[in-house]
């Protein structure tokens, strides 16, 4: 799985939870999930669990806490998928 493929999947998973559609369209690796995309913090758990289902990985609490931007999500997913 390439960075680009993972990024596209991450964006599509977060899409339904993002309140800021414009920011989602212009999303980059530096886009912050909560503040830029307007995702409700309570929905982060749903997003993490959706990552687990989509990429067949297990994300522990410490790893989840490190995910702030789309790039963080992609990096953690790729690292976990390689294990």
């Amino acid at each position: 799985m390439t960075q680009s493929e993972a990024f596209d999947k991450v964006v599509s998973i977060i899409g339904p939870f993002a309140k800021n559609a414009d920011a989602l369209k212009a999303a980059t690796r530096e886009t912050k999930i909560l503040t830029d995309l307007g995702v409700n913090s309570a929905r982060l758990v749903d997003i993490i669990l959706a990552f687990e289902d989509e990429f067949n990985i297990a994300i522990d609490d410490d790893t989840a806490d490190k995910i702030r931007t789309l790039g963080d999500a992609v990096d953690q997913i790729i690292a976990l998928a390689k294990k």
Partner: protein
């Protein structure tokens, strides 16, 4: 240090019960004119569900106004019983920024058994908070937390957009070998349509309680979601029963 600070707060809060409850009832009943529809029956039900059983209890109310926890503490027990039964005077977890700017609020929060929380705070700060909660529950105390995580914007229990924090706490506590019971509480003023800062002056309140023992075969975040969902669904069921009356 955590253990000492929590025990000290518990001691001060218990000693201050007559003052705390007296001030609360004076404010709520005397100044704001609030009344209950079914207070005796509710208190008897709470005693049956909570007081006569061992182990920690987590109280999970619906959330419509800023003073829901104060109303529920008044409803659950008279002051004299709270003196001898600390479990009937639950700990609360208000957002720190809502009261920390005012010394009077801080004082009342301290004697009102409040553990301030910074939502989305640094992991280390959250860990200290969680350790305090686990310590209290391990001692068989009770804790009140709003499972929706915020006041219901529609005026009805939000079964789609709620926080999973309560599920995480229950899951963490279960991993310590504790089996906390969850008392779902449904509170509503007869003139309460949607969410508000305060109930209307002179409102009459309905309140009910149901015991839940949520279970899950999941772990981690899935367990938190599963447990929180069961609690919020039960609250929604209690709300449906209220409106069907």
């Amino acid at each position: 240090m955590k253990r000492l600070s929590v025990r000290l707060q518990n001691l001060v809060a218990q000693v201050a019960v007559p003052f705390t409850f007296g001030a609360a009832v004076l404010l709520l009943r005397g100044l704001l004119g609030y009344r209950w529809e079914n207070l005796k029956a509710f208190r008897a039900k709470v005693r049956t569900l909570v007081d006569h059983r061992e182990g920690p209890v987590i109280l999970c109310p619906n959330h419509l106004t800023m003073i829901d926890s104060l109303l529920l503490i008044w409803a659950m027990t008279p002051a004299w019983r709270a003196l001898s039964k600390p479990k009937l005077f639950p700990w609360n977890t208000p957002e720190k920024k809502n009261f920390s700017h005012n010394a009077v609020f801080r004082f009342f929060c301290y004697i009102g058994k409040c553990l301030p929380v910074v939502r989305q705070g640094p992991p280390r700060q959250m860990q200290v908070f969680m350790d305090k909660i686990k310590l209290l529950l391990a001692k068989g105390q009770s804790l009140m937390m709003f499972p929706e995580g915020k006041r219901s914007s529609s005026g009805r229990v939000d079964t789609h957009n709620f926080a999973y924090g309560i599920g995480k706490i229950i899951d963490d506590v279960r991993q310590q070998g504790l089996r906390p019971r969850v008392l779902c509480l449904y509170l509503r003023g007869r003139r309460q349509d949607g969410k508000s800062s305060m109930p209307r002056r002179g409102d009459r309140f309905f309140v009910d309680a149901e015991l839940v023992e949520p279970t899950t075969h999941h772990s981690g975040l899935r367990a938190a979601r599963d447990l929180a969902t069961q609690i919020v669904q039960r609250l929604a069921g209690m709300e449906a029963a209220y409106f069907a009356r």
